[in-house]
């Protein structure tokens, strides 16, 4: 969607324009918000944040006369910032929980290690490469199963398969992925 298309749609019907924006960029915003909040928020938190992002975007397009050229980039930026804000408030709320054992506390502390951040970036790249090497639909099944925490039935609808096939492919894909990761020294 371009800026002029957006303007035309807004002039005709703001509601239709909003619906079209969600339809086109909904997954994109959801993926960004999910990525930031999956460790601390519930599904409701994530959907709440996604709706916040779109409300902000609608307001922006309503009152800004100069339409942004790169709509996707703009929406992505708003999504990231809103998700980070929500992450902070959720983390602050969660920080009032008293952790029972030392291991958990050390785990929390290690989350803020700069060295670990750098290592995580590299590990993330390796992991995604190895998942991509599995090919389709296994890579999609693996990510939707273990990253997006979707059930086999939900994944089956996305990849046009039946749930039992998804489960068996998933099992085999996990074994293959484990082997690939072991080759590069990632055993956990």
């Amino acid at each position: 969607m371009t800026g002029s298309e957006l303007k035309n749609m807004l002039d005709r019907s703001p509601t239709d324009c909003h619906r079209a924006l969600i339809r086109e960029y909904g997954r994109y915003v959801y993926a960004i918000v999910f990525n930031k909040l999956r460790s601390c928020g519930t599904q409701e938190d994530i959907e709440e944040c996604v709706s916040d992002v779109f409300a902000d975007v609608f307001i922006k397009f309503e009152y800004e006369e100069a339409y942004v050229g790169d709509i996707k980039g703009y929406i992505g930026t708003v999504a990231k910032r809103t998700a980070i804000d929500r992450f902070r408030s959720l983390s602050a709320a969660n920080s009032h929980v008293v952790y029972e054992d030392e291991d958990n506390m050390q785990q929390l502390v290690s989350d803020f290690s700069v060295d670990e951040r750098v290592d995580s970036s590299e590990l993330r790249r390796v992991l995604l490469n190895k998942i991509a090497e599995l090919g389709e639909p296994d890579s999609t099944i693996i990510i939707q199963k273990f990253y997006y925490n979707r059930t086999s039935s939900e994944i089956a609808r996305n990849v046009s398969m039946n749930p039992s096939s998804v489960r068996s492919r998933c099992t085999r894909a996990v074994q293959k992925l484990r082997g690939k990761l072991a080759e590069v020294g990632i055993s956990k």
Partner: protein, 419 residues
């Protein structure tokens, strides 16, 4: 806590991994889409209403033609803003006025607009007392007051004596031809250098000054005894107690051949050899000989002499430490060797600076006592404002309050007195 797995590392991803994850993101179903749309629309409408409400309203008169803009933009301000700002300004101005007046009156002894009589002598009833002073010039001044009166004299020297129930006899004997300059030596004729000082309640009284200095010296000693435990002791005669192992106790280990300070879990108490103190009761008695018996005893350098609850004598609490200072044992007094971080610097009294008496009444006065610490040439020091009152329990002066001020305050009072 939620169990972590390998895919957690995909969280907070950078741009490139994010593209892959977006690509693999599950499709949104219609129900989920409608839910998101409804929530987004609801929030959008709320925000829009808020913006519309707060938005600047443009006046209809504003016309924009080409590059010329005319008219005025009207901005709506909250109605409560003006009264609140006015009230805040008034409070601020009132505070400034009151504060500056208070400060001015504190050191000047009166407002600038008040016409101060040339001489105003205010004395208190001390029937039959005779006070001898020596001024700077060496003139001996004798003042005899027989009853309470107020004597005023105007600038022209016309005395206006209001004697209601007695007479005032004031005699100034200039021994060496010097003029009298003592605070209480103001003559009704108005020829006195100390008129302002008398008006501000300042005076010099040798007897009271000596008493105040004595109290000052002894209060310092008591402070060091109680707070820093500096009595002479016989280290070979000691008793010891086990201390809670979790408490780090820096004390003098008297069990060693050569006693030294160290961290131990044992409290050592050495026998006091100071002949003045044979028991904790003697210490408390010494305290009572200095301080007003109001039961509070809370002016002691932040420490409180609390009643004995453990049978171990005076206990000091000052927020930082809690330890027994002295205990009685077999009819002898023992002093704790716990080291409480140093002691008060000794405050020395000046030989040639008289104690100035302020706010004197029948039953109270404040002594302004100048002192220096370390060495007279060090420049460190100040003045202690020690307030006294007649304690009904003993009929004698006792300390009720101790405050400190800079040397400049003493000098200021001294200049007013002209001594």
């Amino acid at each position: 806590m939620r169990k972590r797995n390998l895919f957690d590392m995909l969280g907070n991803a950078e741009e490139e991994p994010m593209d892959i994850l977006t690509d693999k993101c599950p499709e949104m179903y219609d129900a989920q889409m409608e839910r998101l749309f409804a929530a987004s629309e609801r929030k959008y409408r709320m925000k829009k209403r808020e913006i519309e409400r707060n938005r600047t309203e443009r006046d209809n008169n504003i016309t924009i033609s080409g590059e010329a803009v005319s008219g005025a933009e009207r901005i709506r301000r909250p109605a409560w803003l003006a009264p609140v700002c006015s009230a805040a300004s008034l409070i601020l101005v009132a505070g400034l006025l009151i504060g500056s007046t208070t400060l001015f009156r504190r050191h000047s002894g009166g407002g600038g607009d008040v016409v101060t009589p040339a001489v105003t002598v205010t004395t208190v009833r001390t029937t039959g007392t005779t006070t001898a002073l020596t001024g700077v010039s060496g003139s001996a001044v004798t003042t005899t007051v027989t009853t309470a009166v107020t004597v005023s004299a105007d600038e022209g020297g016309t005395s206006d004596n209001k004697t209601s129930a007695g007479t005032v006899t004031t005699a100034a004997n200039a021994a060496a031809g010097g003029s009298s300059s003592g605070a209480e030596a103001a003559s009704p004729s108005g020829a006195s250098a100390g008129s302002g000082a008398v008006n501000s309640g300042l005076s010099v009284d040798a007897a009271l000054g000596e008493r105040a200095e004595d109290f000052f010296v002894r209060s310092q000693e008591l402070s060091n005894l109680l707070t820093f435990r500096v009595m002479e002791t016989d280290d070979s005669d000691y008793i010891s107690f086990d201390v809670d192992p979790s408490v780090e106790f820096y004390t003098r280990d008297l069990s060693l051949d050569s006693p030294t300070y160290c961290n131990t879990h044992t409290a050592y108490f050495a026998r006091v050899t100071d002949s003045r103190f044979g028991s904790t009761a003697d210490i408390i008695s010494y305290y009572n000989s200095l301080y007003y018996s109001d039961g509070g005893k809370d002016s002691y350098y932040g420490c409180t002499l609390v009643p004995d609850e453990s049978g171990l004598g005076p206990v000091l609490t000052n927020g930082q430490q809690y330890s027994v200072a002295y205990i009685d044992h077999n009819g002898k007094l023992y002093q704790n060797t716990f080291y409480p971080n140093g002691r008060h610097p000794v405050m020395h009294l000046y030989e040639d600076s008289p104690v100035i008496i302020k706010d004197r009444t029948d039953t109270s006065f404040t002594a302004i006592i100048p002192y220096y610490v370390y060495d007279i040439s060090s420049g460190f020091g100040g003045c202690e404002l020690m307030s006294f009152a007649i304690d009904p329990a003993c009929g004698d002066w006792r300390i009720v309050k101790e405050e400190f001020d800079d040397s400049s305050y003493y000098e200021e009072c001294r200049q007013k007195l002209g001594v």
